[in-house]
């Protein structure tokens, strides 16, 4: 309180009484004070309006107000004032009521002595100060609780609301929080919803264990769904006994929705990205297919021209060759005495004719408009037969054969003879690449295409649909390999690195034509370990 004088307002219609009190005060007060006297309630209220008083000494019987009403009017306007009621002996009952209604003390006129008065004043002022503080504290707390958007509530052991903030009231569509007090969840929620809440609170009360951040979807009065994050802790009295629960609900619906939205947006994004990629891939595929089709058209055109040309050339060349051949036969038979040199010359000529014939045959083979007759075949069996047919060559060069042929290989729709030709060609190439021996590895397996970019084939690989099952045959040798600058040429007709007479250079181009007629793909590459690997990919027969 310090040096501030205590400000006292006396409301008393009797001037004598007022003066008497003043006398008593002057004799008894040990602290500085100011006393203001008015004789009417209205004047008193006016003063209270205008300035602060620490204490009001109030006579209940005033010209403008009588009895308890006097106190009530004053208290209603200035609830924080410390009021000491002065009453006559006759209205002690009323004074008591004033005490109950909030007055700090009452004194009976005529019985007031200095010591009593000073003590009453001091207590009243002190109580007023404490109450002011508490009120401030409470208001602060209340303001805090009320201003929080979270629902905050205190419930007793039976689940009745003791305190709550506006957020709770508005959740239940109530105008004020007062309407909540004494009610339970059962008054607001359907029974089946209220029960788990109630049971939860009973568990907390029973065990003292709080519930932290429980998430639940709760429907409000108007049926709107809210995601609530709830924390409930035990509410204890000053002895530590659990007498209820304190809870906080946070409405996280917005957050949830935002999260959900984000997740949706993300999946949407992922989907549209995937769709975009798919579209791009499809576009690419369409483009490649178009190109392939175009190339094929050109190819067909070329083949037809080449085919006609080849047939013409074959005819024109074969006739003279035939003449020569018959002539040589005639000469060799008409030799009277065996002449070694002549025999050799004739044999060389015969070989030359055979070679020329092989070139023509190869050319016809390559150029002839082809048709394949496909049947369901076991690729492993085709390979076995091809191996058997080249066995002689393999044995001669001491080439070992490793077989890795997958059991239960899906069957393929292929032209047995043509495909055998392909494998023989490829195997013979491998044999030629291993003049000093080595090993030939033949591997078959089936695979489901998972995407583009398989190591087999060029753009033609796009004939294969994603997800389709293909049979792959790999023929590996440990031979000399292919010079990298030749790799792009080896499928060209007449490309060969073999000495004249040993290769026509048509083998692989015929293989490629045959494979492509089957809708398959063939590719050749050098192996890291040395030697070459030919991979042939064929569509597996579809099991219906």
């Amino acid at each position: 309180m310090g040096a501030e004088p205590l400000r006292i307002l006396q409301i008393e219609d009797s001037a004598a009484q007022a003066r008497l009190l003043e006398e008593i005060l002057r004799g008894a007060m040990d602290a500085p004070y100011e006393l203001k006297w008015v004789d009417r309630l209205s004047a008193g209220l006016e003063h209270l309006e205008q300035s602060n008083f620490d204490l009001v000494l109030l006579d209940l019987g005033l010209p403008d107000s009588q009895g308890l009403n006097t106190f009530e009017r004053l208290y209603a306007r200035h609830p924080l004032s410390a009021v000491i009621v002065l009453s006559g002996l006759d209205d002690e009952g009323i004074a008591l009521k004033a005490l109950q209604a909030g007055a700090q003390d009452y004194l009976v006129k005529g019985q007031v002595d200095g010591r009593l008065l000073v003590r009453a004043i001091r207590y009243a002022v002190e109580r007023k100060r404490v109450r002011e503080m508490l009120t401030k504290e409470r208001d602060l707390l209340e303001a805090l609780i009320q201003s929080l958007p979270d629902q905050i509530y205190v419930k007793d052991a039976a689940g009745r609301f003791l305190r709550a903030n506006g957020a709770v009231a508005s959740f239940f569509n109530l105008a004020t929080v007062d309407a909540l007090y004494g009610k339970t969840d059962f008054d607001f929620f359907p029974h089946e919803m209220a029960r788990p809440f109630h049971e939860e609170e009973q568990r907390i009360i029973g065990s003292g264990e709080p519930v932290i951040n429980r998430e639940a979807c709760i429907a409000d009065q108007s049926g709107g769904n809210h995601w609530m994050l709830t924390t409930k802790v035990p509410f204890r009295d000053h002895n530590g006994a659990i007498i209820g629960t304190v809870g906080i609900n946070r409405d996280v619906t917005q957050m949830k929705m935002a999260e959900e939205e984000l997740r949706r947006a993300n999946t949407e994004l992922a989907r549209s990205e995937a769709e975009l990629q798919k579209a791009v891939a499809e576009l690419q595929k369409a483009h490649d297919e178009l190109r392939a089709a175009q190339m094929q058209l050109v190819e067909v055109e070329k083949l037809q021209v080449v085919g006609r040309l080849a047939a013409g050339v074959a005819h024109e060349v074969k006739n003279p060759l035939a003449v020569t051949l018959r002539g040589i036969e005639y000469l060799s038979k008409s030799m009277v005495a065996k002449d070694e040199v002549v025999t050799t010359v004739l044999k060389d000529m015969n070989d030359a004719i055979r070679r020329a014939d092989a070139v023509i045959r190869g050319m016809l083979d390559f150029a002839a408009p082809r048709q394949i007759e496909v049947r369901s075949e076991d690729v492993n069996a085709v390979i076995e037969r091809a191996l058997w047919l080249v066995k002689h060559d393999l044995d001669r060069r001491c080439i070992t054969v490793n077989r890795w042929l997958e059991h239960d290989l899906p069957r393929c729709m292929i032209d047995l003879q043509k495909m055998e030709e392909v494998f023989i060609n490829v195997m013979e190439n491998a044999v030629h690449a291993m003049p000093a021996g080595g090993s030939l590895t033949v591997r078959t397996y089936a695979r489901q295409l998972t995407g583009f970019g398989t190591n087999v084939g060029d753009s033609k690989v796009l004939r294969f649909k994603m997800g389709a099952t293909v049979v792959i045959a790999e023929i590996e040798d440990t031979g000399i390999g292919i010079p990298p600058d030749k790799l792009s040429k080896i499928f060209d007709p007449f490309f060969t690195t073999k000495p004249t007479g040993q290769g026509t250079g048509l083998g692989l181009s015929v293989c490629k034509t045959i494979i492509e007629l089957h809708g398959g793909a063939i590719d050749i590459r050098n192996r890291k370990e040395g030697g070459a690997q030919v991979a042939i990919m064929l569509k597996a027969e579809r099991k219906e």
Binding site: A311, A314, H315, V317, K318, N319, P320, L321, A322, V323, L325, R326, G327, E329, Y330, K333, S334, I353, R354, D357, R361, L364, D365
Partner: protein, 125 residues
């Protein structure tokens, strides 16, 4: 044993000449050459061959037509015909004539062994 008579029809005279030389060299056959498809029927009627070697592609009348004429002739219709062609793939035929439309086909570059074998087989029928 009488020598068998073979008529060879091909537009290329050097070829028919060589064939004649080779076939007659064996001592088993008498050969007559004919270089015009259109004359083939007349030559056959005149020569009465036991077997006809017939080229497929000829400028005036091709082998198929000649064969049809021979078949239509009551006296010649049972005469065996072997087609000789530049276009048949020897690898395919492997010496045994490829049958096309009921006729055996031989490549012109057939080895003499295969040629003789094919002729003998067809003469026997």
């Amino acid at each position: 044993m009488d020598k068998k008579r073979i008529l060879i029809v091909d537009d290329e005279p050097t070829f028919t000449r060589m064939m004649q030389l080779v076939l007659e060299q064996s001592g088993r056959y008498v050969v007559r050459q004919e270089n015009k498809g259109a004359q083939a029927l007349a030559a056959a009627r005149d020569f009465k061959p036991d077997l006809i070697l017939l080229d497929v592609v000829m400028p005036d009348l091709d082998g198929g037509d000649v064969a049809a004429q021979i078949e239509a002739d009551p006296l010649l219709k049972n005469t065996p015909i072997i087609f000789l062609t530049a276009l048949v793939d020897e690898k395919e035929s492997q010496g045994n004539a490829v049958k096309r439309g009921g006729y055996p086909f031989l490549g012109k570059l057939v080895s003499d062994n295969d040629l003789f074998k094919c002729i003998e087989d067809n003469l026997r029928q």
